[in-house]
Amino acid sequence: MKYTLPIGPVHPALKEPVLFEFELNGERIANVDIKLGQVHRGIEWAGMRRNPVQILYLAERICGICSVSHPFAFSMAVENAAGIEVPERAEYIRVIMAELERIHSHILWAGVAAHEIGFDTVLYLTWRVREKVLDIIEYLTGNRINKAIFMIGGVRRDITKEQIPKVREALDYYKGLFNKLVKIFLHDKTIKMRTEHVGILTKEDALKTCAVGPTTRASGVPKDVRQDYAYSAYADLNVKAITPDIYRKKFAGDVYDRIIVRLFEVKQSIQIIEQCIENMPGGEIVSEPKIPKLLAILKKAVGEGIGRHEAPRGEVFHYVKLDGKEAPYTWKARAPTYNNVLAWIPMLKGEQIADIPIVAASTDPCISCTNRVSVIKGRNKYTLTKEELHKLSVEKTRGMRNGIL
């Protein structure tokens, strides 16, 4: 007998608000319908009423994790539309930031995937080792997640010589850890049992649905914007798209292959950052440091442009049309999951109910996190601890109460 089972929009098994309606045949999924839009915030609509520099910070908040990817693609779209050149050094800093984001995103995903199959000790391990890269991001930009490093025509903060040893130390830490992660994720019997031949996406389906990122690469499609398209410093770096044949000759496009791709992409990101540090050219980090002057240039600009970047989950795409006014005439932002939604259907069909969480998670959900505040003024940095924040909060409450009383 067939029956339907709704899961979502808010459900403990899913980390993202999306509604699945499963048509079940016993334990097997016969068909699935996906309903989106539960968190559509009208960001593009809001953006068309702001100037490009304001949009940069709005774009950073589209996704809790891709806080480099969206500003990256948006800046490129505006630079393309307005004909702004980016200094070479800024291109390298952009790429370092994007790759640090990939490392933290992929390790976070590995933890979530382990949690979805009930392997919580691995969740704790991966999220603990992820802290190192967040510390480096905070060290370089001042914040763990919303980095505010991008500016149209460059970046806002330089990476100095004194900062590099600490970055190298973190990279060495992950290099030393890589074999351990491979052993845990690719050799473990439990993980193999739950992920091999589960959630299969064939190469043909991946191509047909225009899937992007590790989802499509795990099915054997070598599609990677960093490899295919000469943009930013990636054009200098000879990046190669990672497909599961790097680890096993016969692959199926299952969840296990998605683990392979993401793990080896962490290794690749480390190499990319090292190359960037070694070959980083000198010079300016932004084409126009004065924001009012930049805004005046953008206000006069007329044209349209596209920006594409390979985020941890796949291609991010932004389209901008400028028509000589303060706000852009049109702004379209497209996140990678948008293209991976249709790929869920062939993955889920024929699977069991208990496989829903890991298959849904295998295209990579995201959770944003911020649990402390760092204040950076010039080069001086101080971190507010939880206790200090609590003290500030208590003082504010008392102050307000005194004002009222």
Partner: protein, 173 residues
């Protein structure tokens, strides 16, 4: 295929139905590797044939997304394709732009050629009020079911979001 060859292919096949052609070529970072972006503005009647031509160049062209501009009397739809992906620095974005008049805002679906176009076509229906003909699934996707009919958020005319629907959080007491 180089960007020039792609443009030549379209021009020789469709002649003056291709309204404007633009190839932007830029250099990236230190090694100055070149990349190109192709913009084609075409007539609505050859739209499906143009996408078919693209599938001849590469069997499954990648469709990034479809974006849209409200240009007053017309709605412009921009299909952002890429071809030649999978090879180092060979990918070429091909943006095929089609205008449809607001009095007859219809565009044929390309889901049979590129199944991955479904979500973005559904989005264009609800955001811009374009009717995608022969779309396999015409339900709404991002706007909720109780969203009013005939209001299209990306429109800049009287069918756009009315002032009465905007909640200004900073004015809430």
């Amino acid at each position: 295929m180089t960007p020039e060859q792609i443009v030549y292919r379209f021009k020789s096949q469709f002649g003056d139905k291709i309204k404007t052609v633009k190839i932007e070529t830029k250099e990236a970072a230190v090694k100055k590797n070149k990349f190109s972006i192709v913009w084609l503005r075409i007539d609505r009647e050859i739209f499906r044939d143009a996408v078919k031509t693209l599938t001849d160049i590469q069997q499954f062209p990648h469709l990034s997304v479809v974006s849209g501009n409200d240009l007053g009397d017309e709605i412009e739809l921009l299909y952002h394709f890429t071809v030649n992906y999978g090879e180092h620095l060979k990918e070429i974005p091909v943006n095929i732009c089609v205008s449809v008049p607001k009095s007859d805002p219809k565009i044929p679906s390309i889901c049979d050629l590129i199944p991955g176009a479904l979500i973005t076509e559904r989005e264009k229906q609800e955001m811009l009020g374009v009717e995608v003909e022969n779309i396999p699934d015409s339900r709404r996707i991002f706007v909720p079911d109780d969203f009013p009919e005939n209001v299209y958020p990306w429109r800049k005319d009287e069918k756009g979001i009315p002032e009465s629907m905007i909640k200004k959080l900073y004015e809430v007491k």
